[in-house]
């Protein structure tokens, strides 16, 4: 299973104020708040941790058809090389992030190295990019590849009745979009 999240940092700067009273306390554990306040770039740390939580949550909602807003309960631990671990109840999610000046991208999996395909692009092109990739991987005609959304919004791709993705996650924020999927 795979979940991802992308954050457009220039949009995050104007859209949210992480220094607002209550913002950190409502969403981050005491340990995470400590990480944020002691980081060389607190703003970046806020959104790195947030994207880890969101990517893990997106796996959870694929596993269980439920939606909720409990970012604080997805507890993050940072590891080397922008890798991380998110724990929710008894479950572990392994994350890997890309951080640069423009965006933060995180993908999460249930095992350390989930073999998946990911790409970034502009938000309106993501669907086409997935279809192109599936075409390359399977040889199936693009015009027959369709996205189907589950009741709680999780996408999957089909060719007629054949499911092509066993898990798929799509994110967009501001200028950026991203997909991650595991081939069926």
């Amino acid at each position: 299973m795979i979940g991802n999240d992308i954050i457009d940092l220039s949009l995050a700067k104007t859209e949210s104020n992480w220094q607002r009273r209550g913002f950190l306390e409502k969403q981050f554990s005491v340990n995470e708040q400590h990480l944020i306040l002691n980081a060389p770039n607190s703003f970046e740390m806020v959104w790195r941790l947030w994207s880890m939580k969101e990517a893990a949550y997106k796996i959870f909602t694929q596993q269980h058809s439920v939606r909720f807003f409990a970012p604080k309960k997805f507890e993050c631990k940072l590891m080397l090389d922008l890798k991380g671990l998110v724990c929710y109840k008894n479950q572990k999610f392994y994350t890997a992030s890309i951080v640069n000046q423009q965006y933060i991208f995180t993908k999460a999996g249930l095992i350390k190295e989930t073999s998946s395909y990911s790409e970034m692009g502009s938000p309106d092109q993501i669907d086409m990019m997935i279809k192109n990739k599936l075409n390359v991987l399977t040889g199936l005609n693009i015009s027959g590849i369709e996205q189907i959304k589950s009741r709680n919004g999780a996408p999957s791709y089909y060719y007629k009745t054949t499911r092509l993705t066993s898990s798929c996650s799509i994110s967009h924020h501001g200028k950026y979009g991203a997909y991650s999927f595991v081939k069926a």
Binding site: A12, S16, F23, K26, W50, R67, P71
Partner: protein, 97 residues
């Protein structure tokens, strides 16, 4: 209805309709689907319909706390994904306060 007038009503006497108007004012800055906002009802979902960014949900919650002078605990916050859920939570907290 005059929103300034509503501000003077004691919050616990606000009707469901009054609460919707207050909530509408709170979510407005975060809404990304104007059409869904114009047709806002109790069934409206903050994320799926209004396209509020999940990172802004906490702002909605903090604004609700400030506006109604209530505290939204973690368990209530978990459920706050729709207008209906938000109204239920606000009503419960107002009666308890």
């Amino acid at each position: 209805m005059d929103v300034l007038f509503l501000r003077n009503i004691k919050k616990e006497f606000m009707t469901r309709e009054d609460l919707i108007i207050s909530l509408q004012k709170i979510v407005k800055p975060y809404v990304q689907d104007q059409n869904a906002f114009n047709n806002l009802s109790e069934e409206t979902d903050f994320i799926n319909d209004l396209k509020i960014n999940s990172a802004n949900l906490v702002d909605v919650i903090l604004d609700v706390e400030d506006e109604f002078d209530i505290e939204i605990d973690n368990d209530s916050m978990e459920k706050m994904l729709s207008v209906k859920a938000a109204l239920d939570i606000i009503e419960t907290k107002l009666t308890a306060s």
